[in-house]
Amino acid sequence: MSLKGAGYIVGAWEHPTRKATDKSVTLLHAECAKGALDDAGLSKDDVDAYYCAGDAPGLGPMSMIDYMGLKVRHMDSTDVGGSSYQVAVGHALQAIATGRANVCLITLAGRPRSEGQATGTAPRAGNPSQAEMQFEYPYGPATANMYALCAMRHMYEYGTTSEQLAWIKVAASHHAQYNPHAMLRDVVTVEDVVNSPMVASPLHRLDCCVISDGGGALIVTKPEIAKSLKRPLVKVIGVGESAKNQAGGETELTYSAARWSGPPAWAMAGIKPSDIKYASIYDSFTITVLMQLEDLGFCEKGAGGKFVMDGNLISGVGKLPFNTDGGGLCSNHPANRGGITKIIEAVRQLRGEAHPKVQVPNCDLAIAHGTGGSLGTRHVGSTVILERE
């Protein structure tokens, strides 16, 4: 049974906050839920399935279901970091297709900025019974240097340059200037990026995403309900998920799990990368974008550097408009997880509700791809392909 078209995204809402010192994480989740339900024209009592991930406080989905007063018959708290929400869309489709859910609510929220987390530069000690922990933590794997390991190897194998990576930030900044909620609204140049302080070589400060508070929520529902609502129809036509890791020591860091999550999503959708009008691509770091673009088939492996140059990702300028809200690189990265905002901006584009300065004309096919975890050790890639009906 194909899941193509089994569900529609009828509600998509991003919290406008970027610093929420006066709100709890649970309140942010609930405000996002309300925002997405209002956007869809549905109410809390219509929800019969709930999906969250590790950013939701409590055991699995239980505390949030309690806090928000939900009554559900299907739930999933698969936590694969920032791509959990792409995964949740796929799992929601499965639940809808098998009659186990009608209206699925997905939420994300967090406040790492208010809590002062040194998100990308401080290694975090985990539970030592986690099999790899004792063999990695002593060596100082933070977030930035794990992605940097991939960038360094990509440069070595393919000749990718810091200037090429910088173009990705430049494109994001061109979009962020039109987003009143974006943390970084100044347009930057390639020189600005490569001259910013080195964080973890070869990644500079401006190769990194922002650290922000905030959140977002989605409502996925079955075709009959979607067509009864007043919102533009955004159909989910392709999903895929895959995990990549060190493979017992046969580590290869020049490609991501998108190499495996993309093909089933493309096959389900029955389209190819050149059909895509708008792409939301996970942008924890510039290198993340470059590798995923290659792995999703937007260009040949190793050609990502050339592909992103000269504004090719800038809406109205290049061939593949990406992250037109400014993305994680400039707008926000709530809970240190950028998956849901990728889907939300794709929905805005398909509805024609992106900012007029970045709206892609006749946007009928979009992709929203996430990478969660650490590109340098173990991560999950998840792909969602959407169509405006």
């Binding site: 002593p138 070595y156 020591g249 580590t251």
Partner: protein, 132 residues
């Protein structure tokens, strides 16, 4: 000029996961001892008591300690900075480590490196690598 050596943290104890005792016994004796998949002959990183290639048994073997740098990154935001890397062992697997005892400006992918044990702050000595 060789970089200042940061203090190396450790989490848990060598006894936390009994299956990896041969690795930590090796560290205490200044030897790098890692599992080898009995069926495929492939060496495995990180150390574990079952083969991820077959879910079959492993044998613990001492390896040469010779390797080359697969990739690296200098964490400039840390004080002191440190150089994290994956080193490909002569026996095959790539392991996460730090490159030590050198000026980080001289570190290159493909560089030959040699094993060296460094004491952790609150745990066992662990394997690091310096230019060969």
């Amino acid at each position: 000029m060789a970089a200042v050596q940061r203090k190396i943290p450790f989490v848990g104890t060598p006894d936390t996961n009994p299956e990896t005792k041969p690795f930590f016994d090796g560290c205490a004796a200044g030897k790098l001892v890692i599992p080898q998949c009995v069926q495929t002959g492939k060496y495995i990183w990180y150390p574990r008591g079952i083969s991820p290639f077959t879910l079959g048994p492993v044998e613990w073997k001492e390896v040469s300690g010779n390797g080359t740098i697969y990739t690296y990154s200098v964490m400039e935001r840390a004080n002191p900075p440190y150089c994290i890397a994956y080193v490909q062992l002569a026996e095959g697997p790539k392991m996460m480590t730090n490159i030590v005892d050198c000026d980080f400006k001289d570190v290159k992918i493909g560089m030959a490196v040699k094993l060296k044990f460094i004491d952790t702050e609150n745990g066992p000595p662990m394997p690091f690598f310096a230019p060969a």
